[in-house]
Symmetry: C2
Subunit: 131 residues, 2 copies
DNA sequence: CAAAATGATACTAATATGGTATCATTTATC
DNA sequence: GATAAATGATACCATATTAGTATCATTTTG
């Protein structure tokens, strides 16, 4: 029952770090060193964040990454969805089809409630609020 | 981000089913048929529930399983812990040691809050309440 | 041109998930 | 007592996910 996987967690740390000096360019090596994250793994993560438009990259010597979005516009829920896919606590399907059991559907109702609560909390939890 | 895995879900369904006729003995084959769960998998699940004292078993011909605990004394959180281990949204360790970053610790605080809420909700969600 | 950076992508190891298979033991019934 | 029908215990297996590594191509600075 893991809410946040390692890559999501690393992404959050990296974004928080980068957000502290907004216009500065950080290379992967620099960030990996400061945050104690394996360099090639962090690199992959930053490339994804770049593709998704959260950070910008500069290629070539002296290049690196810089925050692109405002820290209060990046929520933990965004990062979970980027690295872990749609944020759902349960698909509630049974062999590809919606589950047909009334009892599990009571369960589904409850889990859906919890999910709504969790999602709204995580949506309001931004990089800015973590600085 | 799965709150409940398949075995936990199957266990809940089976317990709900068995709870409907408290003193009746159900064989695995019977339950597997009714609930449309693969028989050997359900068998493994029921054996675990038996070991944990939620149901009792009767060996030999005519044997099977019967509920042992009161349905309102079996909560979803118990089942999650039995099949998925300690119910935690995040271990918040970093290479086996508690994570040293203040920013992720803000994250930890928030996730711990969410966890407390989630746990208390799941603790009050019992087999009885799902009938 | 060389060095230092990212882009793209393929590969790998470990773990978790969702089961199956099998042999041993117990019990009811004939 | 033999047999059938049940669980107990345990080992095995296939697939997916997680957590990375490795490498070649491209871009940019100096």
């Amino acid at each position: 029952m893991k809410l946040i996987t390692r890559d999501t967690d690393y992404a959050i740390r990296a974004l928080c770090f980068v957000a502290k000096q907004k216009r500065r360019i950080y290379s992967v090596g620099e960030l990996a060193g400061k945050l104690k994250i394996p360099k090639p793994f962090l690199r992959k993560i930053l490339q994804i964040l770049n593709k998704k438009g959260l950070i910008v990259s500069y290629k070539g010597k002296g290049g690196g990454f810089m925050l692109d979005l405002a820290p209060n516009n990046i929520s933990v829920i965004d990062l979970i969805e980027i690295f872990q896919g749609p944020a759902k606590l349960s698909e509630h399907t049974f062999k590809k089809k919606p589950c047909p059991h009334s009892k599990s559907c009571k369960l589904k109702e409850k889990i859906d409630d919890l999910e709504r609560y969790l999602m709204s909390e995580l949506r309001s939890l931004t990089v800015f609020s973590l600085l």
